[in-house]
Structures are given as C-alpha cells and as structure tokens.
Amino acid sequence: MLFPLIRLALRNMLAQSRRLAALHILIVTSTALVVLLIAIDGGVGRSHRRAITTLISGEVNVTGFYKVHPDAITPLVADGRIIRKAVEGTEPDGCRWRERIYGHSVLAAGKRRSESFLIGVAPNNEAGLFGLVKGTKGDLSRLSEPGTIAISQRIADKLKVQVGDFVTLFASTTFSRRNALDGRVVAITETPGLLGDTSGVIASMAFLRELYAYQPNAVGVLQLECASPINPDPLAESLRAKLKEQGQPVLSPSREAFADKLTPLLREGWYGQKLDVSTWEDEGVFLTFITSGLGALTFLVETIVLAVVIAGIFMALSVAVRERTREVGTLRAVGMQRHHIAFMFLLEGLLLGLMGALGGLLLGALACAALSGNVALPETLQTLLFQRKMVLVLEPQRVVNALLLVSVGAAVGALLPAMKASRAQPRSAMESVL
C-alpha cells in the first residue's frame, strides 16, 4: 500500500507543481540558509580549535606554576626534563609532546614602542605553528639561529621595521628585574585572527630563557600536539593521576585558562612548584562566547526555518485539501481507508519538505564550495572568526540533522490538513458534482 500512496502523492505534487513552486523556493532557500550557517559554525569551530591548539595550547597541557616566594608566581616548569620523562609514553597515536615558553614583552625600535605576547618554541619542531602563522616575508626556519625573532605584520607596521632589522625586547624576570634583549627580525608573519596577538613575537626557547633569565632546562609548558582531534579529558585525568603517583604536586582541574589561575594562586601561601594539567577547552574558555554565539544564532535561524516550513506546508495542504474534496471523496467511495487518506497527505507534505530540503542542501553545498577559502574577511571579522578567509565546513551529522528538521517540520505542518482530509465522507465526491 505504501508505494501506491507514494506514487499518488508524487502525482498530486506534480499536478500542483505551479501552485507549490513559491513554497518550494521558500523551503529551498531557508534550508540553504541553515546549511550555510551550519557551515560557518563548523568552519569557525574548526578554526577556533586549530588556533587554540596551535597558538596557546595543546590538546592537553602540563604547565608549572613556580613561586620563588609566596608573593611571586611564574608560569614555569623549572626542570622540563623531569616532567617530560613523566609524561612521555602517555600520548595517543598520532600525537607528540612539544615544549614552549610563553611571555609578554614591550618591543622597541628607535622611539617606537609596541607590546606583544611571546611564544618561545623549538623551531625545528613547530610545523603546525609555522603552517598557521605563515611567514609573509623572511624565513621562519631561521629562528633556529641565535638572537632571532619573527614578528607579526601588525607589529612590523607599528615599529616600522623590516626583515634584518633589530628590535629590542624589554621584559620582567621572575625576580621582578627588568631585562632587555635585542632580536634580529628574520621573518614577518601574518596575523591569524583574534589569537594573532598571542603570537605577535615568535622566538626560540633559548631566546626567551635569556630574556627572562631562566635556567637552560626550564620550560613554560608541555603541550600535546595531535594530528587529529582527541577527547582530552580522560587523558588529562590519567596524567594528573600519573604525576601525583610520581610525587609531583598537581592542582585540581578547573575550567579556566592558565592566565586566570595566576592571581588566585598568588594569594596562596605556598612556594615552590605545582603542576597543572589542562585541556584546550580550559585554555580557550574565554573564547567560547564566539562559538556559543554562533551556535545560538544557528539555533535561532533553524527555529525560524522550522516555523516557516510548518506554516507553509500547513497553508499549502489546507488549500489542497479544500480543493481536492471531490478527489478525496472519490477515494473514500472506492474504499480507501481514512488513515490511508491521512497518510497520503502526510506523505505529500513530507515529500514536499524533503525535496525542498534536498534542493536547499544542494544549493547550500554549492554556495559553500564557491565561498569557502575565496572570501577575504574584514579585519574585525577575522578577529572574531579566527580566519583570514571564510572557511566553511559541512559536518555530515549536522547536515542530516538539518534535513531531518525540515522534514519533521513538513510532516508537522501536514498533520492537521491530513487529519481534516481523512474526515471527508464518500458522499462529498457527489456533493461537489451536484
């Protein structure tokens, strides 16, 4: 019985195709809009995670908080070798540990001043970072030469320096002493969105150790870098347990970035070193307002589209039921059951929604393919969306959800007209003739 009903529903839709065209276009464009928003959300989500896990965090981080005395705190692992030995072997397949030192400094060239966060890296072990920040001028691989730095285009413009010039970096050491160091600019990098300011200056860890007067084995943080995203929470938990087993003092987990932990820890009376294991979600928690905002916007648009589909299908089928009273009466007269009549109209609504949704999906996917990577974003949007050019990513699960949403909306919209049609009497076929 199902196939004849589907055939009948399709035939009816074709017969009324001209009348349903406007509704069809509405469903297609609404679905395409939802698909585009999902793709923007997906693209921003991916860029967000990539920016965080490349610039300020690993999938999982082991950081140290070092207090020389109770009133001073430095984010530092005093001897990176011990912690590295402890965490080595815990990494999942496709992941590896990298070391970094983070800092902040005032930069000067002549009378010009700027300030920036610094990333101290092992230059030969940072393909991911160099792939993201990209040297527009100069050569990032030269960071392995002593006394060299890479600065962002924004800082280069501010200080009016070029590749080969010297920039003086001023910073406070652990003991609150001011130090200065000259860095020769070997590369000027692009600024990757909001987090670009976190990578305003990239230098070797040796450079930062000299600037901050750290000992040669000191590292800021050990970060787990993975080729593909992992679930970081179970690993973080097992690392905490392992470090505790080895007698290392470890802080309790908290959903905060490491910079937000500094002030509360400074108030505590202990001194020495405590380790902290965090995930990329902890470190990027201050940025979730962007992805949450986009998620809320997508949800709002999906709700509107759902309402539009329900209302559109309801109105279209209500008119159809009224106009096709004779046909329905005839079907009832030849023996078709009420629930079959209702099902037929439900099918019509569902098919209408499904075809519109598929058309919208196709249109949305084509728009994504055309726009992704080809639309340069203005600087304010780059900052918000972590992208220089619009990146659109369609996640299959969310696309299927969108299809289901439109189809369910169509079925809901068709429910009342279908029930009304099923109440038609066989004599109504004759009434309309008479």
């Binding site: 000067a108 009378k111 009016k160 320096v161 010039d165 010297f166 001011r178 160091l181 020769r184």
Partner: protein
C-alpha cells in the same frame, strides 16, 4: 741617460709608498687612533633635543670611562631625572632609575635617557674593531672634497648601527656620519660641528674630541645637539664603576 737614472731613482724611492697605499680599514683605524685616549676619561655632556611637536628638553650628565672601557653616565639635570644613570661593565649595560631605585638591564642598541642618543655616542671610537670598511667615491660639497667610507658591522658584534657611512675631510676628521638599520633604512644622521684637541696624559700625544655634534633622527625628525665640556683625563677611582656608587648618589 741622466733622465733614465732619475726615473729609476724616483721609482725606487716612491715604490714602497705606492705599494703601501692605505686600505679603507687602515684609514678608519687611523681615525680611531686620532680620536682615542688610553687614559681614564670624564666629561660633561649636554643634550638639547627638539621633537617634531616642538617640545624641547635638555639633559646634563657626566660621562665616566675607565681605561678598560667600563662606562658610566650620571644624569644631573633636569631635576626630575637627576640621579638616573647608566653603567656598562663588559658587554652588559644597566639603567638605574633613581626615582624607583631600580636597575634595568638594557641593550646597547637602545636609546638612552629618553633621547635619540645612544651609549656608543659617548664611547671610545671603535670603528675599525667593530666594522669592515670600504671606501666609496668621494663627494664634493661647497667646493670641498670629502672621502666617504661605508662601514658594515662584523658578524656577531653588537653595535648601534649595523652599517654606518662616514664622510671624512682631508685631515681625516669625521664631518658627517649616517647610521643604517640592517635593512638599509637610514636611522640617524650626525653632523660633527666642532672638535677640540686634547692631550693624553698617559702617552703625551694629542687627540681629537667632539665639541659639538648635531644629530637628526631619520624617521620622526627629532633633532639633538650634544655639547661636551670639562673633559678630564685624570685617573678615576675604580669604585665609580659600580652599582653601589650610582645608588649612593641619590643620598648626596
């Protein structure tokens, strides 16, 4: 025959001189030698600076330099800066803020006392040690001919200007110098307006010392005039070149 004999004699007399024509590096070394003293050194320096927004400021400080090249600047005016100082020992340069009572490590490339001058302006002339020199085509200004040398910093040497161009008159006095960033961007132009001639008490030889230097920042247009006065070449107490000495000044 007689003509030929004279020619041979002349050739024999001048050949070594021709063969030993000074290289650019030797000329620069000679300039260094003509400006340096081996004794301790103390001088008053005054910097008058005018910025493009027409703000003017003047700073008075004393320069102390030991025979082993330790260096100390002690600022005595204006009152807001009095007590501030810079101390260089070996390759380390520190700035002392008298107001905060704190020391800050600086680099030798950075400006000092918030002016466009830098530590090397008051140091011993070390061009031949820090730079490789090449001579460029001479330049004629107002009928006077000046030799021109391009100096490029030797690898690994910490200098204020990675390359320097100097204009030298017939007495091998620097009349103008221009400092450049490694990218070739001009940073500062100096005109040496006057020299003074002094006698080194250790060697008894006379040497040249700047009396007045005009400096112009290439970008921004700030100009400064540095004047020197009261140059003393008597031996200095070695305790001057200590942090404690500078810290102790604020209590006097």
């Amino acid at each position: 025959m007689r003509k030929l004999s004279y020619s041979v004699l002349c050739a024999l007399l001048f050949a070594p001189a021709i063969a030993r024509a000074q290289t650019a590096q030797e000329v620069v070394a000679q300039i260094d030698a003509s400006m340096n003293t081996t004794s301790d050194y103390k001088a008053k320096a005054y910097v008058r600076e005018k910025r493009p927004d027409n703000t003017e400021r003047a700073v008075e400080f004393t320069v102390y330099r030991s025979d082993i090249d330790d260096l100390l600047f002690f600022v005595s005016a204006p009152p807001s800066l009095a007590g501030t100082g810079y101390l260089r020992i070996g390759k380390n340069l520190w700035e002392y803020s008298a107001l905060a009572g704190q020391w800050e490590r600086r680099t030798r490339r950075a400006d000092i006392i918030g002016t466009i001058t830098c530590e090397s302006d008051f140091d011993r002339s070390r061009m031949a040690i820090d730079y490789n020199a090449t001579e460029e085509a001479p330049e004629e200004v107002n009928g006077a001919k000046y030799r021109k040398f391009l100096l490029k910093a030797k690898p690994g040497v910490e200098v204020t200007f990675m390359s320097l161009r100097i204009w030298v008159d017939s007495d091998l006095k620097i009349v103008k110098r221009e400092g450049y960033a490694p990218s070739g961007k001009p940073l500062r132009t100096d005109i040496i307006k006057a020299y003074m001639r002094l006698k080194d008490p250790k060697t008894g030889k006379s040497f040249l010392h700047f009396r007045e230097v005009f400096e112009r920042q290439a970008e921004g247009g700030t100009v400064a005039v540095i004047s020197y006065d009261a140059v003393e070449l008597e031996p200095l107490n070695k305790t001057i070149f200590t942090k404690a000495w500078l810290e102790g000044r604020m209590f006097r």
